[in-house]
């Protein structure tokens, strides 16, 4: 007994350092292969059957992670609203941006790293979509903004979005601790979903209010805001005059006062 572990230790120490890497590679390849087999098997099925399957698995996930607030049949409760008829897009948005499940009770769910994988989110979405008709997850072609006019999007954005989300997409305060979140991390798909589902304090912008083409233009403008250069130099967080003031009275006037003290002290 006493001799054996010592032998084991020494033999494990003699293992090649490459071994772990090779093992990891093997694991990845086998997982990938298994995934490819399962997904191809899934796609082989008819889509409605896949949906039903997804919804069934989604219900399990829902019961486990969501039902304590939203109710066992997603009928809603004192801690969460009914999800009947909110549609798959709402689930994809709320869970995909990490807002759901909420970390703690509060006036509003904040964006955080998502808890579920996209596959799980799809299952949850399929389950909620099966409860009643609602907006479905948009297709990539719907939120493709490659041909959209950024300037037109800016016009619509300033008219419909900037009063809450701020001219630069930096977000803004609503009443009682609610906020219009900043849009710097929102993906085109999430922006589209937010417009068609109206999450939390946001109103719904249906296609009758903002046609799909204009939605793409808005996405194009927000995408511009996310990547826009600052031709004037550091934008101080694009928060407007408040940060400009703080900069003025600390760095800028501070520098001049330092110079004044320097000039004044040289005279002694």
């Amino acid at each position: 007994m006493k001799g054996k572990p010592a032998v084991n230790v020494s033999s494990s120490k003699r293992r090649r350092p490459m071994a772990a890497g090779v093992l990891l590679l093997l694991a990845l390849v086998s997982t990938g292969a298994a995934y490819a087999v399962t997904t191809s098997a899934l796609s082989a099925k008819s889509s409605s059957a896949a949906n039903a399957d997804n919804a069934r698995q989604g219900k399990l996930l829902f019961t486990e992670g969501c039902s304590s607030c939203h109710g066992l049949a997603a009928q809603g409760g004192s801690n969460g609203p009914s999800l009947v008829g909110v549609g798959a897009a709402a689930v994809d948005f709320q869970v995909g941006t990490g807002r759901m499940p909420m970390a703690a009770a509060g006036v509003q769910a904040r964006r955080k790293p998502p808890v579920y994988t996209q596959a799980e989110i799809d299952k949850l979405a399929a389950y909620v979509a099966s409860l009643g008709p609602g907006p479905s997850v948009p297709k990539a072609s719907q939120y493709d903004f490659s041909d959209a006019n950024v300037a037109a999007g800016g016009e619509i954005y300033r008219l419909n979005c900037s009063q809450c989300h701020n001219y630069a997409g930096k977000g803004g305060a609503l009443s009682d601790g609610k906020v219009a979140p900043q849009l710097m991390d929102a993906s085109p798909k999430q922006i589209y979903e937010a417009m068609i589902t109206g999450p939390q304090s946001m109103p719904v912008f249906s296609d009758r209010q903002i046609p799909a083409k204009n939605k793409q233009e808005i996405i194009a403008y927000i995408n511009y805001l996310q990547s826009a250069p600052d031709p004037g130099g550091s934008a101080l967080g694009r928060l407007g005059p408040v940060t400009e003031t703080v900069f003025l009275f600390t760095v800028a006037i501070g520098a001049l006062v330092a110079f004044a003290i320097w000039i004044g002290s040289k005279a002694r």
Partner: protein, 568 residues
């Protein structure tokens, strides 16, 4: 006039040519040789002056390209995210300056940063003048000119950032129009008169432009000249120090010392402004989009000097009264008309308010150290705190989003803090001033702690105290202990005098202003203290050898303990 020596150099000949015609040499000699005292805080006003020069220069460049027109155009410049958007010519030309005019964006940013510097430096200069009592007789009128200059600077800045006609500036103008309309009886007339009809109309920007580039700068220039001439004529105040009295000025001559210093400082201010403008964005008009009255962005804030007004409007409870179908919007009149009116009046009238309280009608050319006038200093800090709370209120939404808290809770808290924090600031400041005075007295009587410890032959440890330099001593002794007013409240016959009520009030205010203060050490105490230090260097020598004999000589080793037996 004498022709005894003819100048031979070209400069000399030119000078002679000028002097023969205008006899400038006398005035020049007198003025170039004028002596000014030296202190870094005297240069804060210079920052404002130089910022103004920068504003004139950069502003002139901008006028070459800016079009103050509210005619609608379709933008077709290089900034793609606004291409094809309908906007006013004013906004389009602001975009052109930012993107298509060579050096335009840098010049715009220099102009805007310099404007913030201008009002900021004036404000800090005003703090300096206030806290040192430089506004006292004979400089009250110059204080009023300074107050008017700050107000004009604020109005001028507001006019300036309203000109580009972007969404943010238009929002500010909309609020201004709302405030103008809220003035009782004449409100709508004022608003229609300003805007030439309904808001926004097409008249306002051209009018504002004329005011911004001609009228207000002209008045500012005239007042700055008057301000400087008065400083020149009445001479600059100085800190108390060795050889400095109410009747002299100790310092350096204007030429060459201050010409070099001031000239150099101008380039420093210009350099810092340009450096900041090159690296830090200000007022990115292209981000805001064009102004239309149906749009407003979250996080709309004015420039810093208007922030306190915005904040006052934000924290004001929503009070409205209706008389005979006429609305009296107290929610706007109180914070945006009455409050700034009172603040300005108190500010401008402060020299006379203080004179009323102290009864001090003497001339003052020596400055007060802020600690030596605890009540004035505390009043100033109270006012600044109040102003800061208003400014913070103007940023309530930014605070709410940045710190993920409720804007309602922040606003309600600020309503309370606005009245709670300033009195606390008053008390704390006054206490700090009094403590600093005690420390000064302590230093006068006991000297600096040197940190050098000495072990006496019998084992005791004492610390050597060094005497103050002559300069330090003079600074502390420059303090003037003011008596509390005791004005007559009854006449010779024991009957209440006609001015009894006023005199009583003044007596009580004066007591509040001066009664709690720390008196300077008496000459006798100072003399006794001076004895302490007469043998300090000897002390170190002697004490190491013969402690007892040293005592007999009257020398002293200051002891950290309360035991003063060695001293006297």
């Amino acid at each position: 006039m004498s022709t005894s020596t003819q100048p031979s150099t070209p400069v000399g000949k030119t000078a002679r040519w000028v002097d023969d015609r205008y006899t400038t040499s006398n005035a020049l000699r007198r003025n170039l040789g004028k002596v000014f005292p030296d202190h870094w805080s005297f240069m804060l006003g210079e920052v404002a002056l130089y910022s103004f020069v920068i504003l004139l220069l950069s502003g002139t460049y901008l006028t070459l390209f800016f079009k103050p027109s509210m005619v609608d155009v379709i933008y077709n410049g290089t900034y793609v995210p606004l291409k094809g958007v309908k906007m006013t010519e004013a906004y389009a030309s602001s975009l052109d300056i930012s993107f298509d005019v060579r050096g335009g964006l840098l010049m715009r940013q220099i102009h805007h940063w310099a404007a913030l510097f201008f009002v900021g430096a004036m404000t800090i200069h005003m703090f300096r003048v206030f806290f040192t009592g430089a506004f006292r007789k004979p400089r009250e009128v110059n204080w009023v000119i300074g107050t008017v200059l700050v107000l004009l600077g604020i109005v001028e800045g507001f006019a300036g950032y309203s000109l580009p006609d972007d969404l943010l500036s238009g929002t500010g103008l909309r609020i201004t129009q709302g405030i103008a309309s809220a003035i009782p009886i004449v409100g709508t007339y004022v608003s229609f008169g300003l805007f030439g009809g309904e808001f926004p109309g097409t008249d306002f920007l051209p009018r504002l432009y004329a005011i911004h580039i001609l009228l207000i700068p002209g008045i500012i220039l005239a007042l700055v000249t008057a301000h400087l001439l008065m400083v020149w004529y009445q001479k600059h105040t100085q800190w108390p120090g060795p050889g400095r009295t109410e009747n002299n000025v100790v310092g350096y001559r204007f030429f060459p010392v201050y010409m070099a210093k001031a000239g150099g400082f101008f380039f420093i201010v210009f350099g810092v402004t340009t450096l900041i403008s090159a690296f830090v964005t200000i007022n990115p008009v292209w981000m805001f989009g064009p102004y239309t009255p149906d749009q407003v962005s979250a996080g709309s804030q004015p420039d810093w000097y208007m922030g306190f007004l915005d904040g006052a409007v934000r924290v004001m409870p929503n009070l409205e009264l209706v008389f005979w179908h006429h609305t009296l919007s107290l929610n706007l009149i109180v914070p945006a008309v009455v409050l700034p009116g009172i603040m300005t009046l108190l500010l401008g009238a402060y020299p006379w308010i203080e004179q009323f309280v102290t009864g001090d009608k003497r001339e003052h050319h020596l400055l007060d150290r802020p600690r030596n006038t605890p009540t004035r200093t505390a009043l100033g800090v109270t006012a600044i705190t109040f102003y800061l709370m208003l400014w913070v209120s103007g940023a309530n939404d930014i605070i709410a989003t940045t710190f993920e808290s409720s804007i309602n809770a922040i606003t309600i808290s600020l309503r309370i803090l606005l009245f709670v924090v300033p009195p606390i600031a008053f008390t704390i400041t006054k206490r700090i001033c009094l403590s600093l005075q005690r420390r000064d007295n302590d230093k006068l009587l006991h000297g600096h702690e040197t940190g050098r410890l000495l072990r006496l032959p019998h084992g005791e440890f004492v610390e050597i105290h060094a005497p103050l330099t002559q300069k330090e001593q003079a600074e502390i002794l420059g303090k003037v202990d003011m008596p509390v007013l005791a004005l007559e409240t009854v006449d010779a016959n024991g009957v209440a005098a006609p001015w009894a009520l006023v005199n009583n009030l003044r007596n009580r205010l004066s007591s509040w202003f001066y009664a709690i203060n720390v008196a300077k050490p008496s000459p006798a105490e100072l003399e006794a203290a001076a004895g302490h230090f007469s043998h300090v260097s000897a002390v170190e020598l002697e004490a190491t050898h013969r402690h007892r004999e040293f005592e007999a000589l009257g020398g002293v080793l200051h002891q950290p303990s309360e035991d003063e037996s060695v001293n006297h």
